[in-house]
Amino acid sequence: MSLAIEIRGLEKHYKDFDLKLDLELPEGCILGLVGENGAGKTTAIKCLLGLVRPEAGQIRVLGREAVSAREDVGLVLEPTAFPESMNARQIGKILSGVYRSWDAAAYASLLERLRVPGEKPLKDLSRGNRMKLSICSALSHHARLLVLDEPTSGLDPVVRDEVVNLLLDFTRDEEHSVLISSHIVSDLEKLCDYIAFLKDGRLMLCEEKDRLLEEYRLVQCAPEELARIDPALIKGRRETDYGVSALVPEAAVPAGMHSAPVDIEELFVLMASGTKKEGGER
């Protein structure tokens, strides 16, 4: 199996934050990078794109050094990283002078399909249209890997759905892969083959989404009943006045204890809250 992204022993240190990461994205798959604000998602993406220099580790993209693979990587980093006074047609012209494989016809067709005005300056476009424009530019140079940092945040559900469908179209080609970071877990649930969960700069898990959903169960019971489960196996818990919800591997759920399937959003929320009990104990 060839890898679209291979990150080994990556370390990036800041004064108040450390990122340590090993991550793989198989070619032809979509990997969702999930985590709270400050978990290290953007730092991981910046390391991948060469925007910051890691202190240690190796990053390979599409089997090559990350820098030499840039021609094959489509980027969506901000709603639009282009000057406000420019329009979509002018942005196409800039990028045609940057990417050797820029496809002006594909760009024009994508703009038309997504109804992005070609002549309106960016400052007059809605956030949704700006995001669609970014995605059009990322998809118009025959990229094999898309890297998207929070592409659906701040978008209305209709536009989010359009973006999700566009990304699904992109990955119909088996050579195409996507790395997407997002807070909107429901979008990732629709899109991703793999979910990687980052917390405090560490990778808590990275697994196939379907396996993840099969592997974990949501246990809802009284706190004293939860004591029947080995605390080391509890991946996350949330206590309320009515009892406790805990994320537990299916194999660790004691016979007779009630448990329910978990969705990605619950899994994310529970993992993010950790094993914290009321009073802040960890």
């Binding site: 925007l51 840039r70 980027l75 980093l77 990283a81 282009f82 000057p83 420019m86 002078g97």
Partner: protein, 209 residues
């Protein structure tokens, strides 16, 4: 890299049309005034425009996005220096056409024109040569504080230039060897501009976003 240069030139035209028109007005007005500021203003504005292009890049996130494109850091920096040179040469050409042409037409003021030209070329390249590495390293906001320092250096250079002008003309018409000395100023500045480019490439290669 041509995409980068095209982007900046389009932005200059879209955003700074007024400055371009103002430059023309000042160059034309300079024909009717002995005030040195009027002749130097367009030279000063050229550098200001390039600094503002960097500011716009930072505000829109283009600086981060472009650093992840299939372009080297040296290309990103070189594009800014090339745009600076294109704008400077354009302004110098306008200066030649408008003020030089006027002097020729009038037939009497060519000496004054020849004496002002090196000063203008010096100002045009000197302050961006100092400012660009500062702004590329520290970002527009923090880098711009270097403006005060640069203004001080330029003031010193201008004062030196005025003394040199006095020496060259010695109260009368400039002689060729003395004029050559005056023209050494923009040449030295051009060398400094080249060194500034090398320094900026070095700085930008190490920059993290």
């Amino acid at each position: 890299m041509k995409g980068l240069i095209w982007k900046d030139l389009v932005l200059v035209w879209k955003t700074y049309k007024t400055y371009v028109i103002l430059t023309l007005v000042f160059l034309i007005a300079g024909n009717f005034s002995d005030n040195g500021f009027i002749a130097l203003y367009p030279a000063w504005v050229v550098g200001l425009i390039v600094m503002n292009l960097i500011n716009m890049d930072e505000r829109s996130g283009w600086n981060v996005y472009s650093a992840a494109l299939p372009l080297s850091r040296a290309q990103l920096v070189s594009a800014k220096y090339l745009v600076m040179l294109v704008l400077s040469l354009g302004t110098a050409l306008l200066y030649l056409l408008i003020q030089g042409g006027w002097a020729l037409w009038q037939g009497s003021d060519l000496d004054a024109f020849l004496l002002h030209l090196p000063m203008i070329l010096t100002v045009m390249l000197l302050w961006p040569a100092i400012m660009l590495p500062c702004v590329l390293k520290l970002g527009y906001s923090r880098g711009s504080t270097a403006y005060i320092l640069v203004a001080g250096v330029l003031f010193g250079v201008l004062m030196g230039g005025v003394s040199l002008l006095d020496f060259v003309t010695d109260g009368g018409t400039a002689s060729f060897p003395r004029l050559a000395l005056l023209y050494a100023m923009p040449l030295a500045t051009a060398v400094l501009f080249g060194l500034s480019w090398l320094l900026s490439v070095r700085i930008y290669r190490k920059k993290e976003f």
